[in-house]
């Protein structure tokens, strides 16, 4: 190896790590600056530059205030209720549908698959123009129940994760159970559903993050912000008179993304594999 080649090699290694550090910095900076500001007192926030570290990392006043002002206790409760209901319903509905579509051949099987696929091409925001009318007619606006029903309905991605998973479960398992006299319901609930666990975890994480973070429809359909805030919409409290108290706002933002952060740290592997298994393997 000549010296030139060696220099080249080290330069490349340097460039590699430099770019990684640089883009990680870019990715983290907005959030970290927010966290820094969240720990500052009012006077500190006004006097110091935003990138100057706070005097005390134990100043949780802003968090407490933001939590109370934005009614976040209620918001977390609502979000948990929504999350649990939506996940339970969509797991059952999704796995059942995937089971039928994968195991039974019947006229219309492909049609149903295509109906679900086509639905994904319709941009959600555009659809809300008329979904709003339907929600109004069903009396679902400002109703937690209605919102939950709607959130269950927009679930296509997990159905595909399930179908994919069913394809890898041998049909001979079903057949031997049929020979033993098990009904289709028994086969599904006793044999197949337990086997689906990894797929269920994956789709629950994806769907859960999506539901927790959903703010556009929450904002549209849960208009009663006092009674029906979710974590995402509760942040709207800070629009308006509180709009320039960034130390308070940042505290609210940090609180709202803590659950996602915790989930991310604990389930990093599942999140990655869930994302890729849905998209890569076909």
């Amino acid at each position: 190896m000549t010296i030139l080649q060696k220099i080249c090699k080290y330069l490349l290694v340097f460039l590699k790590y430099f770019s990684l550090v640089f883009f990680s910095f870019v990715a983290v900076l907005p959030v970290v600056s927010c966290a820094i500001t969240a720990f500052k007192t009012d006077t500190e926030y006004q006097r110091t530059n935003v990138m100057v570290l706070p005097e005390s990392w134990l100043n949780f006043d802003n968090f407490v205030q933001a939590f109370q002002k934005a009614n976040m206790a209620r918001a977390f409760m609502n979000s948990v209720i929504i999350l649990v209901c939506v996940l339970v319903v969509s797991v059952f509905v999704g796995t059942q549908l995937a089971y039928v579509l994968n195991r039974f051949k019947f006229p219309g099987n492909n049609l149903i698959r295509n109906l679900f696929l086509f639905a994904t091409l319709l941009p959600g925001v555009a659809m809300q123009v008329s979904v709003y009318e339907i929600m109004t007619n069903l009396n679902f606006v400002n109703s937690l129940f209605g919102y939950i029903v709607m959130m269950c309905g927009t679930d296509v991605i997990s159905i595909y994760i399930y179908i994919q998973f069913f394809e890898n479960i041998s049909v001979s398992l079903d057949e031997s159970a049929i020979v033993d006299g098990a009904s289709y319901f028994t086969i599904f609930y006793k044999i197949l559903l337990p086997l689906l666990k990894p797929a269920i975890v994956t789709s629950c994480i994806l769907k859960g993050v999506g539901t927790y973070n959903e703010y556009y429809s929450a904002n549209l359909y849960l208009q009663d912000k006092k009674k029906l805030p979710t974590v995402a919409t509760s942040l709207y409290t800070f629009v308006g008179p509180l709009g320039s108290k960034y130390n308070l706002i940042c505290a609210g933002v940090i609180i709202s993304l803590l659950p996602a952060l915790i989930l991310f740290i604990t389930c990093q592997k599942q999140i990655y594999s869930g994302l890729t298994s849905g998209a890569v393997k076909g």
């Binding site: 703010y215 999140i271 998209a279």
Partner: protein, 334 residues
């Protein structure tokens, strides 16, 4: 669950005649398992779709009298400056998604090989994807405020504050600022997808290439790129349709002020603030048509491109279509 209680019935009824009972039960299971999802799909996707089509011919609000106006709404969509003109902003988002794809492809390639602290870098870059939209709105309002985070960092790099523009007010730059936030949010997610694709490439290929003396760049060009081109294609298609329907960054950060209102932001405003539902529905239909045409054209284009490549058979095309829809679902879910 309703289906569980229903399950008992056919068993009782059909124990006698084995052959017919299986078929009967099959039908029963199918109905029990499919009725809820199909009902939901119908109520929240196809019924609104049909209704929207109907709305677009009326002058109406959500509540109150409706007046049939024929194609007037469609004419308005093309005449009003704020409607159709807003599609021009999509160009910014398209440019952004090109940057995003290139960046995530590069980072994915780097991270697919042995890198110290690789998973930490990956985690840092991916996390923005998990933050909810409204929080992102606040974070970036804060980030771009005069003299705050972004300006400070630029000052560290030697820029003068006086020479820096107002990132969200200056009309020559604010769309770039918004596109930047969208790139910031999604490049990590794209990167993870690409890493997944690269990882599924057979490891022996690299070893063989190493033995043959191929360098990293050659490995990328001749092994990685060909094997993940399907997923890249998909992302290109999605990014174009995604750019046409760009919504979140302007909606949460600037509310469409100062010339940042994309087509959907304006449509949202017309539908839910001004309550001109008919016009908004017409806007939605027009954009849907454009998206369909764009998708079909791109599919044909890529089909043509891939026809020359020998490793793409009909099956793969079908698979690609499926994947496309799935990824679209994911994007829509965002």
């Amino acid at each position: 669950m309703a289906s569980k209680t229903l399950a008992i019935k056919p068993q009782k009824r059909t124990f006698g005649q084995w052959a017919t009972s299986r078929d009967g039960q099959k039908v029963f299971v199918m109905i029990a398992f499919m009725v809820i999802p199909l009902l939901l799909l119908f109520t929240f996707t196809y019924l609104p779709f049909a209704e929207m089509f109907g709305f677009s011919f009326y002058n109406m609000k959500y509540i109150g009298a409706r007046k049939f106006v024929g194609l007037k709404n469609y004419v308005k969509v093309f005449q009003r400056d704020d409607c159709f003109g807003a599609l021009k902003l999509s160009l910014y988002y398209m440019a952004g998604s090109v940057v995003q794809l290139a960046l995530s492809l590069y980072l994915a390639t780097v991270l697919s090989f042995k890198v110290k602290g690789g998973s930490i870098f990956k985690g840092f870059m991916f996390f923005p994807y998990l933050i909810n939209g409204i929080a992102i709105g606040f974070i970036f309002k804060f980030f771009y405020t005069r003299g705050f985070v972004f300006d400070t960092v630029l000052q560290w790099c030697g820029f003068e504050l006086d020479n820096l523009p107002y990132w969200l007010k200056d009309q020559s730059i604010n769309n770039f600022s918004l596109v930047g936030t969208s790139v910031w949010r999604y490049f990590g997610q794209n990167m993870v997808l690409f890493i997944g694709a690269i990882m599924s490439v057979d490891g022996e290929l690299y070893e063989a290439a190493m033995l043959d003396g191929a360098n990293r760049f050659q490995q990328f060009k001749y092994i990685i790129l060909p094997s993940i081109k399907t997923i890249i294609t998909l992302n290109v298609i999605l990014s174009i349709t995604g750019s046409l329907s760009a919504f979140e960054p302007p909606y949460v950060i600037t509310s469409g002020a100062n010339g940042t209102g994309t087509y959907f932001v304006i449509m949202h405003e017309i539908a839910h603030t001004q309550q001109k539902v008919g016009l908004a529905a017409a806007m939605a239909i027009v954009l849907l048509m454009i998206i369909f045409v764009a998708t079909i054209l791109q599919k044909l284009f890529f089909k043509y491109v891939f026809k020359s490549a020998d490793d793409e058979d009909l099956n793969a095309t079908l698979k690609r279509d499926k994947k496309l829809a799935k990824m679209a679902a994911r994007k829509a879910g965002k």
